[in-house]
Amino acid sequence: MSLFSRLFTKETEKEAITIVHLGRVQADGGRCVQCGVCGYNCPVGIDVRSYARQGLSVDDPACITCGQCIQVCPRGTLRWERMVIDEA
């Protein structure tokens, strides 16, 4: 559980959906400027930038889903992949 950084967010009250982030980082390629701030801060040295460029999810078994890359990206390119596991 601690490795999978689980965050629970609520959408608007009307559609209370519980979203669980199972730890894949997703990129919006159109926002990325290839600066490399993400990969520089990745504790396991994943080349996040090359995923971001192609608009892909970080699909690397070494990823410990720490969320560092998401936090440091100055362009808001990265986010948790949304996975709806439970609809309230």
Binding site: T12, C35, P74, R75
Partner: protein, 460 residues
Amino acid sequence: MKHNGTAVAAHHAQAALHYVIVGNGAAGVTAAETIRAHDARSRMTIVTAEPSLMYSRPGLAYVITGEIPPRQVIARRAEWYEQLRLDVVHSAAEALDVSARRIYLANGSFLTYDKLLIATGARATPPPYPDASLKGVVYLDTLTGTKQLIQQARRGRRAVVVGGGITALEMVEGLIHQKVETHYFLRGKQLWNRVFNDTESALLDEQMQAHGVHIHYQTEAQEILPSRWGRKVRAARLPDGSEFRCDIFGVAIGVKPLLDLVQDTPVQLDRGILVNEFMETSVPDVFAAGDCAQAYDPWTRQHTLDILWPSAVAEGRVAGLSMVGARQPMQKGTPFNVCKLFGLHVTIIGQINPRSSANDEPEVVQHLSRGSSETWFSRAAHHTSAWSSAGSNTLRLVMDEERLVGALLIGEQTLADPLRTLIQAQADISAIRPALLAGGDELRTELLRFWHAYQKQVEQ
């Protein structure tokens, strides 16, 4: 380096060609990647005037703020070029002969092309007054220049920065990080006055002052003065004749497309290289993309300049497709930029109703500033603004009777993606227009509600 033009493959429909790309930036490498995806056999050469491999120019801002070391901006390794079978030549292209299909390089050699892409980008403009050649005059423009800037900052004590756009603000932030006493000179009465309104400007002003920036409104430099012996910056001269001591003079007054290579050739120019929606220039087999290209924009129905990374990538792709004969017109999306200035996220989308250009920083009138699009500043007739602000979060919407045409967000970014989609899709917002015009909290709630309904409708 001479190309042997006789290598023609008999048994393939398409002959092996030589694609030459001048410019190893976002546009150039994207074009190369696109070409290779469609043509596995042909020869490709990319020419660059810089010593490094392809790097992220916007990333330079994070080098001076110390977020990353200089080498981290390199975005493509040598293996990437090898895999793509893309030869790199580190030498400036100096002349183009379109009838002989040749590019002449500074190293004395030349390249013969079948298809040529010009993706030379744009460079920072020097100040219109002397003496820009002094040591201590710095730009945030190239990797080499940025390393010099950092070196100067380590030795320097007091900096003056001039220029009205994002790059100037990023430079100020970087110098503050480098512990240099930084004075920001502005001709007008507010920050980035082409883009921000009074509240937006005041918000950033507050943030900058809190970081220790000295902002001098309505202050202009007229000359950069040298030290008594040597060629170093000593002071800036102000219009009243007084001298403002400084050892660094940062210039970010705008950029200009690099057109030297095509000057005095049949390639048609305006402020940039004129291209149609296929990135074709007026000369057959010569293409242009990125900051140096002035491409047709359906939003403004004009040929506009974009100094934006995503535009350079998109144009590079379209150029690559045209070069391999798989022509597809450019679908110029809504111009969009997000940046982080002194900890505040700023997002600009579409047309943002600029104020009149009377108060512009002198430079920005002549040259576009980095990270901007001319579309932001094009003013259509019946646009109205709506406004909501709370603390360090602001939201400004620009709309006509039925649709949103632009938005500017500072701080809170929840609505950035929804707004980008709604603006791009030209969604009909007439039903919520009154609520939007009411502004304040209602604007945000209404917009979010509308967005959720819109998404549902699109899904169905």
